[in-house]
């Protein structure tokens, strides 16, 4: 994947496939590392979570699953760390830590586009996103928007456009701005 944000989208789709109703994405950055964490309340993992890192494991109707092995590959190349937790019935928690100095580390990329895409495809899932950069942080909770929107769907094209500029603005402030 060209961007970590695309790996994140892939992991979010895993959570949706596991029938999660609530998902939380946390991105924590400082000058020398990036930490990404995804928590969901989906079906969880039956057995040893680490076997999901094996490309020849997939519970879907096919022979290989590449989503998690792709993440594992970056973690290995960059000598970061990765942790998968999850039991049946208690959801799944996936986190990884990557050093920013690594030449094989893809850029975080367009995280806003990842979030908008996910909301477009899964409006019913309550999605929380927390992004911390040094001392600054921003929080987004799709449920707050849904409450405000009442009967109007959160994935109406016009709502998505507004959400996109809202999230882009938050991010701009986070990365310096003023």
């Amino acid at each position: 994947m060209k961007e970590l944000a695309l790996n994140i989208l892939d992991l979010l789709e895993n959570s949706a496939a596991a029938k999660a109703e609530n998902i939380m994405l946390i991105i924590y950055e400082n000058t020398d590392k990036i930490h990404i964490e995804l928590k969901d309340d989906g079906s969880g993992i039956d057995g040893n979570p680490n076997r999901l890192l094996d490309p020849f494991y997939s519970s879907k109707n096919k022979k290989i699953g590449l989503g998690l092995p792709f993440v594992k590959e970056i973690v290995t190349l960059c000598q970061g760390s990765m942790d998968i937790q999850g039991k049946p019935g208690s959801g799944t928690n996936i986190s990884f830590n990557l050093p920013k100095g690594c030449i094989d580390l893809p850029p975080l990329g367009n995280i806003v586009s990842t979030i908008i895409t996910f909301i477009t495809l899964h409006p019913e899932i309550n999605f929380k996103y927390e992004h911390v950069i040094g001392e600054k942080f921003s929080i987004f909770d799709s449920q707050e928007f849904k409450t405000m929107l009442e009967d109007v769907p959160i994935n109406h094209p016009k709502v998505l456009k507004l959400l996109e500029s809202y999230l882009e603005n938050n991010l701009k402030n986070l990365y310096g701005g003023n």
Binding site: L9, D10, F70, T117, T120, L121, P157, K158, L162, N169
Partner: protein, 120 residues
């Protein structure tokens, strides 16, 4: 969005708009969002679709995702089901193609035959 007021204003506008425009027939679009789809550009294709729908003020649509359907070499894949037309799947969809599919097929009911890789 500068304030919550903007969101509420938009909400009320959309509500009025749906009353006037909605024809009741919804077009269903399905995009491949498995690992291969994502790696091949499905996110950008979806963004182009939503953007075009917004510009054309067209929202009688349901957008769904699917994992791999065994046509990985043709990702990004886009399936369009419009009432009264055959269900078709477009392959190797680019941003430019996505825009034309929205305008010609989704809105104007003209299937773009050259790009169809599967029809039923």
């Amino acid at each position: 969005m500068k304030s919550l007021e903007d969101l509420k204003k938009l909400r009320d506008q959309i509500r009025e708009d749906i009353k006037i425009r909605a024809k009741g027939e919804r077009v269903k679009i399905t995009i491949g969002m498995g690992t291969t789809g994502i790696a091949s550009g499905a996110r950008e294709v979806l963004k182009a679709i939503v953007n075009e729908l917004e510009i054309r003020n067209y929202s009688d649509i349901e957008i769904l995702q699917t994992g791999s359907i065994g046509l990985d070499a043709k990702e990004p894949l886009l399936t369009v089901e419009k009432p009264g037309l055959p269900k078709v799947t477009y392959g190797l969809v680019t941003i430019e193609m996505a825009k034309r599919i929205v305008v010609e097929h989704v809105i104007n009911s003209q299937i773009i035959g050259d790009w169809v890789i599967r029809s039923s």
